[in-house]
């Protein structure tokens, strides 16, 4: 806020998340900022959800998997449920099963490596 803002009864507000600026009335600014903080909290969460969605995809063959894993993200794949197959994938690609989702739809198919039946897709990724 500067001298001109004081004269006009305004304040310039810069947001860290979007890097945008706007000038608002000084009157009622407490409520405005309180709402804006909620909006920022919501916005950065949505941004993170959208990013995750953009890097999450289903992969059906192991050849495709080896290409896709290089691009990062969550890969939803069928796995036969054995430690051997999981270990094999890890050794070849450094990807691990991050989790077997507890919610979401069950979608039976066949393991991308061994072709054995699988009851649902699991989530593969390289991890920290």
């Amino acid at each position: 806020m500067g001298a001109r803002d004081l004269e006009n009864g305004t304040v310039e507000i810069a947001r860290r998340d979007t890097l945008t600026k706007e000038t608002v009335a000084m009157e009622g600014v407490e409520q405005y900022i309180s709402d804006l903080l909620k909006e920022i909290q919501h916005n950065i969460f949505k941004k993170a959800v959208d990013f995750r969605t953009s890097v999450t995809r289903e992969v059906n063959s192991y050849d495709e998997f080896k290409v896709e894993i290089e691009k990062g993200g969550f890969l939803l794949c069928h796995w036969d449920g054995t430690a051997e197959t999981e270990e094999f994938i890890k050794n070849e690609t450094k990807a691990t099963i991050r989790c077997i989702p507890v919610d979401g739809e069950v979608d039976p198919g066949f393991c991308m490596v061994t072709g054995k039946p699988s009851t649902r897709r699991v989530v593969f990724a390289r991890a920290y």
């Binding site: 903080l37 920022i40 969460f45 993170a48 995750r52 999981e86 077997i100 507890v102 989530v123 991890a127």
Partner: protein
Amino acid sequence: MAKELKELTSRAVDYSQWYNDLVIKADLAESSAVRGCMVIKPYGYAIWEKIQAELDRMFKETGHQNAYFPLFIPKSFLSREAEHVEGFAKECAVVTHHRLKQDPNGTGLIVDPEAKLEEELIVRPTSETIIWNTYKGWIQSYRDLPILVNQWANVVRGEMRTRLFLRTTEFLWQEGHTAHATRDEAIEEAEKMLHVYADFAENFMAVPVLRGVKSPNERFAGAIETYCIEAMMQDGKALQAGTSHFLGQNFAKAFDVTFVNKENQLDYVWATSWGVSTRLMGALIMTHSDDNGLVLPPNLAPFQVVIVPI
């Protein structure tokens, strides 16, 4: 040595360097004289305190109480649970002596060979063993259950490659350790804490997480089931942000913790454990920050608004 970084390496050039630059430049933490151990600086610690405060509130709201157990664990305790020892043995720091003395041949200090411990102590990598050894004295009947205890503590796990917040030899965390009369109740508790963690990650950290269970390979050493929350970082790598374990009766059997149930029969106690650590700081930074530096969710920001007079 204070080093002022002019600007951040951009994420596109080197994500890993960007992360490291950011942690230093934002004054959150730095490496220390001790290999693999970091110094959490006041601004970083202020964020951690906000994380702690909210989690602590959520734990208490779900019926848990805080307590504190020793930093040191007798070596023999660790080997009581076979899978547990296998999982942690290679990462343990060991205390062998309790005293130093003047080097008779020089000016420095040496370990006093006279002060060798009868039994070596390990620095806790996690506290299931010392806690279940303690619970043996607390539990006789179903009336003593459930025990819903959480501990805020530091733990030590030897790491080959360390990174600020993400992987350090010593880190801060909380570990919940609960004891139950039935299998169902313990599973319910482990699942409840998974959801507490997921709610916290999403509503306070603004970090979206997948909720799931681990494959047997990735399970906690000694657990029947490991529930986890998994986050996605901006470089496409996943980050395990919290885990909650259904431990079955494994630790009760290892430490002989039995109770008289409602049917007046002796049974082993059912267990869970669950934890999140300063690793959450890494997830928070990597999820939201950009090439200009740190971006924090207002719910966890030590400073939400900065007034700039022109």
